[in-house]
Every structure is written in structure tokens, then in C-alpha cells.
Subunit: 658 residues, 2 copies
């Protein structure tokens, strides 16, 4: 596998430029220049990006369907209809006052974009898409294995121990010297690692708690800001309270996530080092596993909160749930939290990708390079002629070192999570991912070709642990989507209303059905709004979004029968959805063979050829022996003959008299 | 692989006798005498039986726990307590009258044996057990592959086409003769098979309908008999109505199942033949798939009905559900249908196994043998000296032909289904299976050694499609058990009552809570009992097992809030159970490597050895060549020399001057 001097140039022109973004990558050349491991990464990235195209298309269609159908969506129409004026209970104590449901018109219309039957179809589609992606990759990998001639290559080759490990072993053996007899193999047992494991567990647990704490902090920020804005006298500020709060909060979340990501990476590395894994392979795997866990929790905690807890822990008017002192847990906009979930996802994905790509993947390396050059400039000679005098490999010393593929993979896996896990609430995710990846590929290419020292070529048959992580994610995605559809969106309540409660089988009256009544006399002292008459008329009864008994009934404000019926429907939907999708996935998985037909045929053919070859060889040798023997018989010159050879002696029956 | 004359005798003594039931099977010898395929079957059967031992033990413990805790089980105590006399609504129209709940005391106590918290634990245990069994078998298979030296052996070897297929192809090519040009390969496309597929689908659909019809017929039988018995004047008859009906019905079911099994086997074979599969392998797989589907449906429809539909489609007093004319759908005994499910399972398993084993596996072959002998006796000479004069293989002609392993496997798979699918309702299933299999192994052994002609040894690496079927079953088992626990048993209602409704957090008052009130004035005309005062006092209000609004409420007799709450709890339990168990299974699956450590080491070592060997060989040959060459130089006699050999000519650099 020699490298012509112009390979790198070729890569630079054919691969590492945005002008060829629409072309397939020259995977063979990449592998030739960077080795199998890097080659597989880019091959995988290519397949992933390619598979994202259909997903993005369908996603856009679904989104457009939402846009098109927003005007004939009865619930949002009813919300926006000023004629049925519904007085809602205040959203915060004292400062806030009663408000008209029509104020939520905008949100309601917007959230229909992401909360319509099409999203259900789309999340089923994406679940199957994930399986197809796996299968497609498996086949591609198999093909590459065959083309790159790795079929015979096992993993055992590269498991020599790490220096740190040997060092630990040596220390241990020295310690044991006096106690144990000589000559017995010393190795690190689990017991030696226990302290490290304990540290790992506790630290990771702590880190996850930190994440939760941060998320909770952001919630508190949201609540307090909202309250403050409500108090503020500027009508302008109060007008777009929600928007302001949502966006700022989301951005804060984003920044925190990006900062913590770096912290977590360092922590994971430190923990893994403490564990003293035996081989580089196991070191890498342990590191990846830790990093993944932390980054995953970090990236998805806020989203999970928004999707499943936001607005469910609010209590009810007159008995609100208060956290840290007098903060009331925040409610959702009228039409469910789906909207906010969307914004969060959108900002996280876009922001994360833009910032990480630009800042971390372009900015930092350039900066480092610059610094290195500055440093090297300190010695007197001027840059140009010095560079001229330098050889290629000397020049390349200025480049940054190659830190492994894990960060690249990690970024993609988290993105894959975004694309699959909450796709039910944000059908545009695949599109964003696609756009990002088209840039990403060339960005990484540039980085590898121009900004990093050439990595030492490493052999690999597959993408290793990453495949398992992908598989795990796509399994979790099914259940998460099931829950998003049935609990976060209003899909199930709408169905239930239509088929159980609606007088004429239509959606008319749905909004009214989802709102419970509250007698303003039942406000706890000090929580009633200060300006009760802001709407211009005295309010006796206000409404809130929940299924509870009306005031005056024997069990007033308790969860009503409707609540339980709808809950049952939601859970039933989860069961059906999960099992149907899993069944379909297994079916697809079973339908598509892991090894492409032509490849398996090729392999089979070659196996036969090899056998035949050996047969002939054997035969040939036997003939040769007979020859030798024959010569022994008739040749007078004393010759060492075949006896000296490490070969079986010719059998007597092969005598041939001359 | 030569066979000593005494192998068969050895097998007969060491394997095919009940006296050695506690011993491991001589798998090596079996494989040596019958070939890999049969060897694998018995190895698998052995592993399965072995794995059943712990399952049976735990099952017995669970059952004993049920027995022990029956006396301090509050619900059944309350049912049996004569002091709180609860008047139940009649179980059938007119003929039946009101009855006291205390009459259901026996059933309630009995059903506690199978409806206690321990069964929940047990079904989780069995789900994991199934996974462990799979893993264990995979490892065993791998080991056998290694010992039997099959690691290199691929499946491609035995795919020559079947005669029927070739015949069809020939006919087709003749038909096409005139139309298409010569020389192009004719093969059966999907289009040629479409009619066959259509037939298959329709026939199988029809067959499944037949099964359902039969089950429904049995239900009607139950209902009508019950009614008849109620009318009958014999107090004796009326006393043990339930028992009679249950048992007779179960037995009828059993008989039908056994008969239909044979029918279905024939149908499946016929259908597969019509499809004209290409290779024997595909023929077998298609056949197995069909047979499995039909037999599975046949065996489990009655059980599924009992578990999930029985007693749920009854309607309510005053608005019962009537089928075919005036038959009221049957209700369950008071404490759920679990008891009847148990009886059904028990009878099916025991009966099926006993009858099938004795009748089909011992009786029929013996009969056939006898007949064959009779026939052969018809020619004059007497049996003894004729047999004496005969050679072994001639004598063996009297034996029955070998029909393949599918029936054996099928029986076991269905049993595996019984053991895993409904284990939540019948913890003794593994024990029954274990006892059956201990006999089964030796029975099959005897059959193979003494009653069947020696099969042609066939090579196989694994048990093929059967493994997938097992895997599928153990996946389905999880969800089925979840449903059995949450819907068939009273586990969830008890929990909900205890934590939501119970005044003092105990189970006291549970029975009362599960019973709704019915005002006897609301009976539809002609359905009220003829003898209303049989209990000695006039009845205004009777109770029935359901969660419905009491009479007099605004929505009387409608499903109550409790019903929906409990339904939600049940569904939630299903989701939690399924996902937790699946997670644990995946974890176990991931924890246990498929290939035993020692084996993988061995294989790796051997690979290296082979490589070294080739190296040496190569070297040796080069030496040999140099030798030849040397001889050519110094030997005067004209010799064909190495040129005639199919070997590379010695390179010039290997010249050695003498």
C-alpha cells in the first residue's frame, strides 16, 4: 500500500472542498491515505447523510401538510374565535390576571404545525428509517470489508497492553513480591479496580445530578423572569413575554450544554485513566461509553423535561404546586408544550451545530496553528524562506495532532439521537441534520487534510461500539416517540373526544371539553389576582386546561372520569405503537440480508477457488517428489536427495523404473 | 467416520433406556451414528430439559408459596366470610337465581394459588430464563461445532434443486420454447408462484377461521350445557356444575386440538408442495413455517380466549350480551378466569403430551411394525428361521421409515410456548414440561434406535429456523405475560385499591369495592330469575363483578371512574413490565458472550498454527526446488526436471554451483 506523493493533493481537490459536496466521497483513496479506521468513519458519515435525504424530504412534506391544514383545524379555529369568549385562570399569582383564550390563538395555530396526525405517521416512518439505515450500513460495511480485503482480519491483532497498565501491574507485583511465590502471572483483578469503579460511578452520578440541577436552575430562571415581566409596567414587554422567556431560556440551555460538554469530556477521560484499562481498545471503549452517557444526559435532559414534565406538575388553581419558596411551577402555552419543545430542539440543533462546527472545528484549530506559527517565528529568520527551506513533513509539524475519531462520532451520534428520539415533535430535525452533515463532511475533510498531522493508519473492520450505540438509540427512539405522541401532543385527547364525547362525531367543542371550571372564590388567600376586573367584567368562574370535576360537585376539583379514560387511551396507544413498530422493524431487519448477494457469492466462489488451488499444489508436490525419487534411483551422482527436506518421504508405490 | 458394528448396541444400552434418564446423553456417539442433524436435535433437547430443572424448581416454590399464603389472603377470606352476606346477581336468565358470594369461596381460595404476587416475579424470572436458555444453547452449539469440526462448513453444500422444481422449470421452458430465444436460463419467478401463494394464504386464513369456529363452538357447548344443568332438578348435578362443564369442555378442546393437529400437518405439506420450492432446505423451511403457524394457532386459541376474552364480553345485568339467539356469554368464576385458564393449560399440557407420546409415538409405530410383520408372514415360511436367515439390514427393512425431525421439534416448540407464554397463570408448567421431556428423550431415543430405519446422516451447523421460532416465542412471551398479569389476574386492581381507595391501606373491603350494585327492578322483561326468593328473603339489589355506576346516579350502570383508573393502571403496568423485562433480557444477552472463551481461544490459536504451517511448507518447497535445480545442474542423466511440474520455476538467485 504505497502512497504516491500526490494522494494528499488529490484528496484536497476531489474531497476536501465544498464545490464537490454533491459527489460521493473517494472512500478508497481516503482509506489508502488515512487507513481503514478513518475510511470507515467517512464511509459511515456518507451513508448517514445519504439516508438523511429521504427522511428530510418526508419531514418537510409533513411540515408543509401541517402548514396547509392549519386553517381547517377546528380546535385552533375555536381558540381563535372571539365569539366564544372563554376566561382563563391567571398564569401566576397576584401579578397576572385573567386572560382570554383568544390570546393563545397564535400559539395554538403554531403548535398545530407540529401536532397533527401526519407527525404520527412520520415518527413511525422514522423508526423504520432508523432500521433501514442500520441495515444499509451493515451491507455497506460488509462490501467495504470485502473490497478492502479485511474479511480475514480479526480483532486480536492489536491487543498489546497499555504502558500504564503494565506499570500498575509491575507496582502490584513488587508489592506482592514478599508475600507470593515467584513465577506466577500477576494481573489486575476486579478487586484492584474496585476503587476506580466506585469513583467512576459516584462521579458520574454526581455529574448527572449537576445536569439536573442546571436544568432546574433554568426552570427557576424562566419562572422568575416571567413573574418579573408580568409585574413590569411596559405593555411592550408584557406583550411578548412568552417569546422572550422561551428564547432566552433555550439559548442559556444551549450555552450551558456546550460548556458542560467540554467539562464532561475531560471528566470522562480522567475517570477512564483511573481505571487503568488493559488495552487501548478497552480504554477507548470505556472512554466512549462514559463520554456518551454524560453528553447524552447533558443534551437531552432539558428536552425530556420539556417533553414529559413541563406543565404536568403545576397542580390546579387554588392548589398550585410551589417550588423553592413561592415559585409556582410553570404551565405550558395553551396548546400543549409541543411548541416549546420544538423551539428548544430547533435552537439546540442549529446552535449546537453552528457553534460547535465554526468555533470548535474551524476556529480553535486555526487559532492553534496561528499560535504555533507565532512561536516558531520568534527565532530570527523570516517565515517565507524558512518555510521554503523546510521539507513537507517538517512543515506539517506545525499542524495540530490527531486526537482520534471519537469526538466526530460523538457529535454525529448525539445528532442521530436528536433526529430519531423526538422526531415526533419536530419533523424538520432530519432536514437540519442533513444540511449540517453536508457541511460537516467537507469540514472534517478539510480538517483531516490541511489542519491535522496525518494520523497513523489503523486497521478496523467496523465502527465498533458506535454501532451498538446507534442500535440502542433507535430502540429507545420507538418508546420515546410513542410517549411524545400520546402524552406531549393532543393527538389522543382529540381522538377520544371525537369518538367518545363529541355529540356529532366532529371536533367541535373539543377546546371547551379540555378546559375545567374553577370558582374564583376558592383561590387561596394571597393568590387571587390583584386586578380581577382587567377584562372589563367581574369573573366568577375561570377555566384551566385539565380534566377535573367542576366546582360544586361532591368531589370538586378531583381528577374526572374523562381524565382517567384519556390516560387509559394514551397508555393503550403507547403499547400498540411500540409493539407494532417493533414488529415492523424486526420484519424489515429480517427481510434485508446483512451481506449483499453478490458479495456473499464472490466470497463463496473464492473459497472454492482456494480449495482447488491447494488441491493442485498438493498434487504438484507429490509429482515433484516422485520426480526426485526417480532421479535418486537413476542418477549416479551422490546427492543429498529429498531426505534432507522437511517433507514426507515418497511412498514406495510411486516407484517408476527407468 | 467409520461405524463399528456395536455402536447401535452401545446406543441402545447407554442412551435408549429409561434407567439412565439421569445421565447426560452420549451426544458424540449419537452424532457419529445418526449424523450431525440428529445429534444437534438431541443435544438441544438435552440443554432444554436441563434448563427446565431450575425453572421447575422455582415454579414449584412459587406454587407452594401460593398454597401457604392462601389462608392469610384477605380477599378470599372476605369472600368466604359468611357474616358479610353479599347477594350476587344470577349467572343465567330465569333458570338461575341469586346466589351468595360465599358459594364462590372454593374457587376464590383455589385461584389465589395462581394469582398472587409471586407469579409476577415468576413470569419475570421465566422471561430471563428464556434468554438464558437461548444464550446457553448458542454456546453449546458453538462448542459442538468446534468439537465436531463444523466451523469451516458452510450451508452452501446441499443446495441442489428438487426434482419437482426441475420438472416445473422444464415444463415452463417447453411452454416458452416458441416465444423466447434459446439458451437463456429459465427459472421459476414469483409470478409463476403467485397462484400457489394465493392458495396458501387463503387456505391458511380459512384454517385459522376454522380453529376460531371450533373454539366458539366449544364456548356455545359450555353455555348451553350450563343452562341445561341449571334447569335440571338434580341438586347433585347443580352442585358441581362448574367443575363438570370446565373439565368436559377442556377435554373436548384437547381432543379437537389433537385431531386438528394431524389435519393441519397434512394441509401444510400439501400447500408447500404446491409452491414447488427450489431446494430441499427451502421446502423444509416453508413447510415448518406453515405447520408452526397452524399448530400454534390451534393450540393457543382456546387458551388466549380464556385468558383475555372470557368474561369480558358479558355485558351487565339488565343489558347482557347475547350470542346466537338467546345464549348469554359466560362469566368467570368470581375470582377471575385465571382458575379456568389454569385447568385448561393443565389438561392441554398433560393430555397432549401423554396422548401424543403414548398413542402417536409408541402406539402407531408398534402397530405399523406389527402390520408389516403380518404382511411379510403371508409367504409360507415361519417367522423365526426366516429372521435368522436374514441379515441385519434386511431385518431393519421391517422398521418404519425416518420422516425427519420436524415433528419432534414442533412438539417441543409448542411445549416451549406453553412454558413461557402463559407461565404467569400456571407456574407448574415448567415442571410438567420437565417430567415430559425426561421421558421424551428416552422415548425418542428408543424410537430412533429400535423402531425407525437408520436415517441418512445429514450435516448441519445449527438447528436452523427453529432457533428463530424460539427467539420469536420468547419475545412474544414477555408481552403476553404482561397482559396476563395485568388483565387476567386481579393483581393490579388489588394494588390500586390498596393505594388509592382503601381507607386504611389494607386489603379489607377489596371484594366489596370490586362489586357493583344492580337494582333488580331494572331486569329486562323475561330475564329476571323465576324463583327470586330462593335465598329466603326478597332481593332489591344484587351485586355483580364490574366497576359501574350504582343505580340511581345520573349515569347509572355506566363504567365508573374506578374502572378507567384501574384500566390506566393495568396498561401502565404492561408498559413498565414489557420495557423493564426487555431491557433486562438485552442486558443478559449482551453480558454472555456467544462463543465460550476457551473455544474462541482455541480457534484463534489454531488459526495461527495453520498460518505457521503454511509458512514452513512454502519454505520447504522452495528448498525442494533448489534441490531439484541443483540436481539438474550436476546430474548428467536426461530428466524431465522440474519444468514438467505445475510449479513456479526456481528463481535464478537460488543458483547453487557444485
Amino acid at each position: 500500500m504505497t502512497v504516491e506523493p500526490n494522494d494528499r493533493k488529490l484528496l484536497y481537490e476531489e474531497w476536501a472542498s465544498y464545490s464537490v459536496f454533491y459527489k460521493y466521497q473517494p472512500v478508497g483513496l481516503i482509506r489508502k491515505y488515512f487507513g481503514e479506521k478513518v475510511g470507515l468513519y467517512f464511509a459511515w458519515l456518507g451513508v448517514y447523510t445519504q439516508m438523511l435525504i429521504p427522511a428530510a424530504l418526508v419531514g418537510v412534506v409533513v411540515f408543509l401538510y401541517g402548514c396547509a391544514s392549519v386553517d381547517d383545524n377546528i380546535p385552533s379555529m375555536e381558540i381563535c374565535d372571539a365569539r366564544n369568549n372563554i376566561t382563563m385562570c391567571p398564569l401566576c399569582d397576584q401579578a397576572c390576571s385573567y386572560w382570554k383564550l383568544t390570546d393563545a390563538c397564535g400559539t395554538a395555530r403554531a403548535s398545530h404545525l407540529f401536532d397533527n396526525p401526519a407527525t404520527v405517521f412520520f415518527s413511525i416512518f422514522m423508526a423504520l428509517w432508523a432500521v433501514l439505515f442500520m441495515e444499509h450500513w451493515k451491507r455497506r460495511q460488509m462490501r467495504l470489508n470485502y473490497i478492502w480485503d479485511l474479511t480475514g482480519f480479526g480483532e486480536e491483532e492489536e491487543d498489546h497492553n497499555r504502558a500504564e497498565y503494565e506499570f500498575r501491574v509491575m507496582k502490584k507485583s513488587l508489592k506482592k513480591e514478599q508475600s507470593t511465590p515467584k513465577g506466577e502471572k500477576v494481573k489486575l483483578t476486579c478487586t484492584d479496580r474496585i476503587p476506580a469503579y466506585v469513583t467512576t460511578l459516584s462521579v458520574m452520578f454526581f455529574m448527572i445530578l449537576v445536569t439536573f440541577a442546571i436544568v432546574f436552575g433554568v426552570i427557576l430562571y424562566r419562572i422568575s423572569i416571567k413573574a418579573a415581566l408580568h409585574m413590569s409596567s411596559y405593555p411592550a414587554a408584557r406583550a411578548n413575554i412568552r417569546a422572550t422567556v422561551k428564547t432566552t431560556a433555550a439559548i442559556i440551555n444551549l450555552i450551558i450544554i456546550i460548556i458542560m460538554d467540554e467539562v464532561y469530556a475531560a471528566v470522562a477521560r480522567w475517570l477512564t485513566a483511573k481505571e487503568v484499562p488493559k488495552t487501548d481498545k478497552s480504554f477507548e471503549e470505556r472512554l466512549i461509553f462514559k463520554t456518551f452517557t454524560l453528553k447524552f444526559v447533558n443534551a437531552f435532559t432539558p428536552i425530556v423535561y420539556l417533553a414529559f414534565f413541563r406543565g404536568r406538575l403545576v397542580g390546579r388553581p387554588g392548589a398550585y404546586l410551589y417550588v423553592v419558596g413561592s415559585y409556582r411551577m410553570e404551565e405550558c402555552a395553551h396548546a400543549g408544550c409541543l411548541m416549546e419543545l420544538c423551539i428548544q430542539l430547533c435552537i439546540t440543533m442549529l446552535g449546537k451545530q453552528l457553534i460547535q462546527n465554526n468555533l470548535f472545528e474551524i476556529g480553535i484549530p486555526k487559532l492553534k496553528k496561528l499560535l504555533r506559527r507565532r512561536k516558531s517565528e520568534l527565532d530570527g529568520r523570516s517565515e517565507e524562506d524558512r518555510l521554503k527551506s523546510l521539507k513537507r513533513h517538517e512543515k506539517d509539524m506545525i499542524l495540530g495532532p490527531f486526537v482520534g475519531l471519537s469526538p466526530e462520532y460523538m457529535e454525529m451520534i448525539i445528532q442521530f439521537g436528536m433526529v430519531t428520539l423526538f422526531v415526533a415533535s419536530f419533523p424538520l430535525a432530519p432536514l437540519f441534520a442533513l444540511l449540517n452533515n453536508i457541511i460537516e463532511i467537507r469540514l472534517d475533510a478539510k480538517k483531516f487534510v490541511t489542519e491535522l498531522r496525518r494520523p497513523i493508519a489503523a486497521k478496523a473492520r467496523d465502527i465498533g461500539i458506535w454501532y451498538n450505540l446507534l442500535r440502542g438509540l433507535s430502540k429507545v427512539a420507538v418508546i420515546v416517540n410513542a410517549f411524545v405522541i400520546s402524552f406531549t401532543s393532543d393527538f389522543i385527547p382529540r381522538l377520544v373526544y371525537q369518538y367518545m364525547y363529541s355529540p356529532d362525531g366532529s371536533m367541535h367543542g373539543f377546546v371547551n371539553h379540555t378546559l375545567s371550571y374553577f370558582n374564583v372564590a376558592d383561590f387561596q388567600p394571597g393568590t387571587a389576582p390583584l386586578s380581577p376586573n382587567n377584562l372589563g367584567y367581574p369573573v366568577q368562574v375561570c377555566r384551566y386546561k385539565d380534566y377535573r370535576e367542576p366546582p360544586g360537585s361532591s368531589t370538586q376539583y378531583e381528577l374526572s372520569k374523562e381524565f382517567w379514560a384519556i390516560l387509559a387511551a394514551r397508555l393503550a396507544f403507547v403499547i400498540v405503537f411500540q409493539n407494532v413498530v417493533m414488529l415492523m422493524s424486526d420484519f424489515v431487519d429480517w427481510l434485508i440480508p446483512d451481506i449483499p448477494k453478490d458479495i456473499s457469492l464472490q466470497i463463496h466462489k473464492e473459497k472454492i477457488l482456494v480449495v482447488e488451488l491447494f488441491m493442485k499444489e498438493e498434487q504438484g508436490r507429490r509429482l515433484a517428489l516422485r520426480e526426485n525419487h526417480h532421479q535418486d534411483n537413476c542418477c549416479t551422482s551422490p546427492s543429498p536427495g529429498p531426505d534432507s527436506l522437511p517433507q514426507p518421504r515418497p511412498r514406495p508405490l510411486s516407484h517408476s523404473h527407468c
